[in-house]
């Protein structure tokens, strides 16, 4: 079985919990006899467009890195990137995995599952945090003092109260 794991960052560049789960799963899958490919984002954004690079770990895991120059994680409407989708589709065409496992799509694009499905590749998603409904990922208030009590699908309080977001962005969010 060939498994393609997707995550927003990967060691050694990023060492958070989700990244380590993916790295651990990747090595365990290799030991279990699977062929493993990782597609990861990076904090090193490309200045223009999307930059792809690939390397092979000692374990045999092939790691494709997609650098997205226009990434702004505080703008929900930018969570989809057509360029990342196209680059991801290229990787799928090259690698032909049996299954795609999306662990996170921040820094990448929110339509990765759709992209895989269109190529008739089944996808599994692990929801490591609340990113799908909360841009700060935790549904904890921005001052860290309380659980967010804004019922879904209302707008996130962190977004609606942020001075960084203008009326135009709020309107766009309300329409999305």
């Amino acid at each position: 079985v060939k498994v393609l794991l997707v995550v927003h960052g990967f060691p050694p560049e990023l060492l958070g919990g989700t990244e380590l789960v993916v790295a651990t799963d990747a090595e365990a899958l290799v030991r279990a006899g699977c062929e493993v490919v990782v597609v990861t984002g990076t904090l090193a954004g490309a200045e223009d467009g999307v930059v792809r690079s690939v390397r092979t770990e000692e374990s045999g895991v092939r790691v494709h890195t997609l650098a997205r120059g226009d990434m702004h994680s505080d703008h929900w409407q930018k969570s989809r990137s057509g360029r990342i989708s196209a680059a991801f589709e290229e990787v799928l065409t090259e690698e032909r995995p049996d299954v795609v496992h999306v662990h996170h799509w921040t820094r990448l694009s929110r339509d990765l599952v759709l992209t895989a499905t269109r190529k008739r590749i089944p996808a599994v998603v692990t929801l490591h945090d609340h990113f799908t409904t909360c841009l700060v990922t935790s549904r904890v208030s921005t001052d860290g003092a309380a659980a967010c009590d804004v019922p879904l699908p209302q707008l996130c309080r962190a977004l609606t109260s942020s001075d960084a977001l203008g009326q135009r962005e709020r309107s766009a969010l309300a329409l999305s």
């Binding site: 079985v1 498994v3 919990g17 651990t24 799963d25 365990a28 279990a32 049996d98 299954v99 496992h101 499905t117 008739r120 590749i121 089944p122 996808a123 599994v124 935790s138 549904r139 904890v140 860290g144 003092a145 309380a146 659980a147």
Partner: protein
């Protein structure tokens, strides 16, 4: 989720946590321990005092087993097997 939550559970130690974020999911009173409202120092103080005065509560609490890498990995393979079996239905 703080690792100390998983470490405590693995060691069979009850938890006293605020009801913030993943902590609220980690403790389902009375299973696993107790929760207090985040930021409520008095509530935390009261519960600590209660436990000090009645330590039998600590012995009585049910501690669920800590999630293990083995169980996680077995579930992962089950999920992959399931979606691969359904591949023909992938629209």
């Amino acid at each position: 989720l703080p690792l100390v939550v998983l470490e405590a559970r693995a060691a069979g130690v009850p938890l006293l946590v605020s009801d913030l974020g993943g902590l609220a999911e980690a403790v389902r009173e009375p299973v696993g321990g107790w929760r207090f409202p985040a930021g409520d120092v008095s509530a935390l103080s009261r519960k600590l005092e209660e436990l000090l005065l009645d330590p039998e509560q600590l012995e009585a609490v049910e501690i669920p087993p800590a999630p293990s890498a083995e169980v996680h990995f077995a579930r992962l393979f089950d999920v992959y097997a399931e979606v691969l079996a359904e591949q023909g239905d992938c629209a």
